[in-house]
Symmetry: D2
Subunit: 175 residues, 4 copies
């Protein structure tokens, strides 16, 4: 990860925005969750977010600007039955985002956390949940372009009015 | 309030957006908070929000569209010492916004709650807290235009990706 | 309320504990919630709690001790569809409890908020929801004596280890 | 951990209560937090809690009873500046406790999470923060016996009125 960020800065250009967006939404009863699985989900959700955020901040801080956006889920806010590993990873990521926002905000970096609550209209969803995608209809499933617009809007916010957290959810979603 | 909304609809035009934005940030020890003050703050923050939101929804629901935006504060989330009345009013308003969002969202109305955490750069602030405004500088005090942009952005969100809640805070604000 | 507390102090004895426990769990769509209903629920849940808590604190503070216990519900934490009035009243009561705990704690008064999540085994429940009471069985419905034991335990806590908030819920309750 | 629980069950007796209580309250700026430190804090706070809770549940579930108590801190609820690692570990532990409570509660296991907000009166505190301990006085620092009484009380709760979460805090603590 360290080399990766240095490579980008050296060969591509200065990083203005980091979007950290990892899944890991697995469901297991606790007794069937191995230590390996519990670790893997945390590694993907939280450790990777920590390393990516830290290395992005390292190159952004000397410039006094930059945006770091973390993607959360409903599991960021509560541990449901069957989601001990996923909720643990997402809760740790949200805590990380809060700590980073409070530490880096006064130094000019905008750190935010987006809670996505609903199915996203991806090739994966259309292949694996085709019937549900049809039932939901276009207003019931998140369009990735609209998620991207929200991330862009966060990046564009002026320094006197930054958002730390917002949720995105289809109008018909129950919550 | 009922007549007011009917008057607008009849004589001005269909209401597309309601922004409900009331202050009431008073500070009193509990023993010095009269029933009258406690009531007044709730009446301004919550009852007025309920009536405005209800009447807006009444004209918006038959059209199946419209946006209702409520303004909150840090007190929406916690009751600090000295703010029993204000926190009570703001907490009630946030609960109202949640109930309305859950009831009206599937019917096409976008209800959202914005938590403003910081001083707003108004004539009132410049007159009454001139020194603090100077100390904070332009990045430390919320520009009303930037708040308005956030509200406009909420109103513009497509139906598959609505935000219920976001916070707005100067980059240097402690939280 | 003022006279009531003075009467107790003068004729019965010093008030050591206040338990404020009011229902008000009504369900209405927003458009069918009159201003009168919205006000009544707030008056019962929050204004009455404010007055009772304030007057209890007035007589307790000079003695530097006393316990004030407020009863909450799931609606204290979130506004569900159909519960705008109830959630508003309960959210305001919780904010009040927080403000009082922060103001009065250092002066020796223990203020706490108990979130009751489930049906309580009362004559009212047995009369009106007889079938549901049967289905739930003794582990699925809160025994009022056990709630009372929790309140007593809160009152008995030593000053170095006070609880502000706890929840009570049958083991089989979904949450 | 698996062997450890089997050893206790085989040679000492059936486990009725698990208390999982690990520190890990380290403070580092994000840029000085190595991957090793970030991992270690999570391993202590969350992975160890997961393994201990899972193995305790494995022996308790066939008996249909048992209590699993996790110890949290203020960092369980928010990520402060300088506490990315600690808040991540504690937030993950709280999510774990919620998932376990929701999964195991209906099967007869009582899972709870205790948020300790304040300094605890231990030999460590008296050695390392002697002056602060003196300044706080007996009402300002948590007595470990009183924490133990709260855990015992949680273990003693009847099945119709279980607490998932409570906080413990000295009366004079600011929060």
């Amino acid at each position: 990860m360290v080399n990766f960020f240095q490579h980008i800065e050296a060969n591509i250009g200065p990083i203005e925005v980091l979007v950290f967006n990892v899944g890991g939404n697995v469901r297991f009863p606790v007794l069937e969750t191995t230590a390996q699985k519990y670790f893997k989900v945390w590694e993907m959700c939280a450790l990777a977010g920590f390393l990516a955020g830290r290395e992005a901040a390292r190159v952004m801080l000397p410039r006094g600007r930059g945006t770091i956006l973390f993607t959360g889920a409903t599991a960021s806010l509560r541990g449901a039955a069957g989601f001990a590993a996923f909720a643990g990873g997402k809760a740790a990521l949200r805590a990380l985002a809060q700590s980073m926002a409070r530490e880096f905000g006064p130094q000019g970096l905008h750190v935010a956390h987006v809670i996505i609550d609903g199915l996203i209209d991806t090739a994966f969803a259309r292949t694996n949940f085709a019937q549900r995608v049809d039932e939901l209809g276009p207003d019931g499933i998140l369009n990735p372009d609209h998620i991207a617009q929200a991330y862009w809007w966060l990046h564009s916010q002026p320094r006197d009015a930054w958002t730390f957290e917002l949720d995105l959810r289809p109008s018909i979603e129950r919550w």
